[in-house]
């Protein structure tokens, strides 16, 4: 199979390319990137006035399968991903059962093999059943195909156990992804602690509940020279702590999610439970710090933290609703609106945060259009405006806080391993 993508504006931060070029794909690899390629191809795609970039690597996605197929499945999530230019997702391990042993990972691998439309990588748990009591057999997780570990949704409270986890993860060659939250501080909080929690009469979650745990995890990882990745950074102090750790030479990377720079606590009007997210939407000052961090690389990556929930779990009292929002289908368009249009990042920088950096963090041969790289590509009509509509959501769950919002940047094609997996 060969595909020739003609006349697109090729964005490839790995090779510092931002130019109108052709891209030639032979089988599942990038074969050539050059001006006006004259070659026979089975499929020719006209990408005139479109962005041609490496497919997005979304390193924080809750697929909900196995266990909660009513919320999402590997098939529905990867279809939503394909529609949105995402060619690789990292599946978070808080499924039922959790990805805490080789057997469960085998089960998920089987489902992926049968039903996934894009690449799905597997994250195992740090502790058995994510209970924070006893480490999973990390070597076995690695052997069965996990590339990272995380107890996402919870943090390992016990310092000694977490230190042990970093050591074992390093030995096993696994990346440790930390959900940083001290539940002793966040307690029963449901939104950011501040005037807005006062106004709405809801329990608040302080910045400290996040950044104190960021500090601890960095300190523990540094102690044993392990690399760590901080998930869903939401507040200014976390950005500052991570930037300082990078300066000291700690092997720390981190991600934020589009809602942390596109929304603030002030958007939680009228108790919209789709805005109930953990960590919570923070203040304007925090959102500004997130954008600055994305610009100066204190923050490496943008990931969706796609967290599907059914309407039964969301269309209820705010205190009782589940935390989380879907994000696969809004991430790129919201990022274009908030980061490109507002001149925070240029296109090379955005693609770096969405694709190249996450690929590097995960150590995979993706996120670039280099010759020989996996042919995972998105073609985007970056100027095309559209409204995010509930009825067009492909994901099984519809809990998006961006429904009704006018955005920009429509995906025209998504190619995964040299195959067209989505065409608008």
């Amino acid at each position: 199979m060969s595909i020739l993508i003609k006349n697109g504006r090729v964005i490839d931060p790995a090779n510092k390319i931002d130019a109108v070029l052709d891209v030639f794909i032979q089988d599942d690899k990038i074969s050539k990137v050059a001006k006006n390629i004259q070659i026979q191809a089975e499929i020719i795609i006209d990408a005139d006035r479109k962005i041609v970039a490496p497919g997005i690597v979304d390193m924080h996605v809750h697929l909900r399968e196995p266990g909660r197929e009513d919320k999402e499945t590997v098939a529905s999530a990867t279809a939503a991903a394909a529609k949105s230019g995402i060619t690789t997702v990292l599946a978070m391990p808080n499924t039922q059962p959790a990805m805490d042993c080789a057997e469960n990972i085998e089960l998920l691998r089987g489902i992926i093999k049968r039903t996934a439309l894009v690449n799905v990588l597997i994250c195992g748990t740090i502790t058995r059943e994510r209970l924070g009591k006893e480490l999973s057999d990390l070597a076995a997780l690695k052997k069965s195909g996990a590339i990272a570990i995380s107890d996402d949704g919870s943090s390992v409270d016990n310092d000694k156990l977490m230190l042990e986890a970093f050591k074992k993860a390093k030995q096993a060659g696994l990346l440790t992804i930390c959900h940083c939250e001290d539940k002793k501080l966040s307690g029963k909080g449901v939104i950011n602690l501040g005037f807005n929690s006062t106004r709405l009469g809801l329990r608040g979650i302080s910045n400290a509940s996040e950044y104190q745990r960021v500090s601890r995890d960095i300190e523990l990882a540094q102690k044993c020279g392990a690399s760590l990745h901080i998930a869903h950074v939401s507040c200014k102090e976390s950005v500052d702590i991570i930037a300082a750790a990078k300066q000291r030479g700690v092997q720390v990377t981190c991600e934020t999610a589009p809602h942390y720079f596109a929304l603030t606590e002030e958007d939680i009007i009228d108790y919209d439970t789709n805005m109930k997210i953990n960590p919570p939407l923070r203040t304007k000052k925090d959102a500004e710090a997130i954008k600055a961090g994305l610009k100066n690389m204190a923050i490496d990556a943008i990931a969706s933290d796609h967290a599907p929930h059914t309407e039964n779990e969301k269309d209820i009292e705010f205190d009782r609703a589940e935390f989380g929002k879907i994000g696969l289908e809004s991430g790129l368009a919201v990022s274009i609106m908030e980061l490109i249009d507002k001149k925070i990042l240029n296109w090379q920088e955005l693609v770096e945060r969405l694709a190249l950096n996450p690929a590097k963090i995960l150590g995979i041969n993706k996120g670039t259009l280099s010759i020989g790289a996996d042919a995972d590509i998105m073609i985007v009509d970056a100027d095309k405006e559209f409204v995010l509509e509930k009825k067009k959501i492909v994901s099984k769950s519809k809990n998006s806080p961006f429904i009704g919002r006018k955005v920009k940047g429509l995906v025209e094609y998504t190619l995964c391993s040299g195959k067209i997996v989505y065409k608008n």
Partner: protein, 310 residues
């Protein structure tokens, strides 16, 4: 001024003009309760449903009396014995009540925002009778009504609100209502019972009650929910009474003509001494009487606005 809202969810959502309209309407309804036959036909043929997810006697009875004096039919749903116990969602319960062709739901709920969620899901009117720590608009309206009746005006008044501000919906509604009408509000509580950012509303804060009483014309006293919270995070009750309790000695040193209000039920000996609760500064029972007029006004206005939409 025209009332256009089918619901009353909180005083934060109202303009000063809308609050004044409720007060004026209540004034004209107050007289009804003094008649030989205490009834007007304003809501004849209408059905009001009291949907109380939290135990409440005084607010529920006050709404029931108000609705009946307007000739509405009133149905009380005790959630402990209804299908709510079987796990029915709030919105489903609301839709079922709507399907019975009820006109107004009066709801008390322990979750903040429950009334907002119900109101946006239904076409019938929703009146918030207290939701979590969020708002209790009719209580604040009757406080403001009583205050205006006693002192003649709201604008420029110094009002102290003493007690557990952080966990009080009554305090929040009073802060919004009073500041919108131009009163100067001071919140007086131990540090840990003042919620973050509250000064953004325009209210001042203080931890010294005696200082506040030098200038305040009124003290409005929200519940201290001793029964709802772990005692360990609160100052000991006796210690609280020493620092913040309203006593005859404190009132003697306060500004002349100060009045004392309380939404009830009173924690005698913790929040205030019995001498104060029953003393001549206290207008606590007048508040109860005025509550009927305020709730009649609210039920009347939301019903009218909803009917105007058709």
């Amino acid at each position: 001024m025209l009332w256009t809202k089918k619901d009353l969810l909180g005083l934060e959502y109202l303009t000063a003009g809308e609050i004044e309209l409720i007060l004026a309407t209540a004034e004209s309804f107050k007289e009804v309760s003094t008649r030989e036959i205490k009834k007007v036909p304003a809501l004849r043929g209408k059905t009001a449903v009291n949907l109380f997810y939290e135990p409440s006697t005084r607010t529920r009875v006050s709404f029931e009396v108000a609705a009946k004096r307007l000739s509405a039919d009133v149905i009380n749903i005790a959630t402990e014995t209804s299908s709510v116990r079987k796990g029915e969602t709030l919105i489903d319960t609301g839709k079922n009540i709507q399907a019975l062709k009820a006109d107004i739901i009066i709801m008390r709920h322990n979750c903040s925002g429950a009334a907002n969620i119900l109101a946006r899901s239904l076409d019938i009117s929703v009146v918030n009778a207290g939701d979590g720590w969020h708002e209790h608009p009719t209580q604040a309206l009757l406080d403001i009504f009583t205050l205006k009746e006693k002192l003649g005006k709201i604008k420029g008044l110094n009002v102290a609100i003493v007690g557990d501000i952080a966990h009080s919906r009554v305090a929040r509604s009073n802060i919004w209502g009073l500041t919108k009408l131009g009163a100067k509000v001071t919140l007086c509580a131990p540090e840990m019972l003042l919620p973050p950012g509250i000064e953004i509303t325009g209210a001042k804060t203080s931890t010294n009650i005696d200082e506040v009483f030098q200038t305040a014309s009124l003290k409005n006293y929200p519940h201290r929910h001793f029964e709802k919270h772990g005692h360990e995070s609160f100052p000991a009750q006796l210690d609280y009474f020493k620092r913040f309790g309203i006593t005859e000695e404190r009132l003697a040193k306060a500004k002349k003509g100060i009045i004392v209000m309380h939404p009830g039920p009173i924690n005698r000996g913790i929040e205030m001494s019995s001498g104060v609760a029953d003393g001549e500064s206290s207008v606590i029972l007048e508040q109860v009487t005025n509550g009927i007029a305020i709730r009649m006004a609210v039920l009347f206005l939301v019903n009218q606005a909803r009917e105007a939409r058709r």
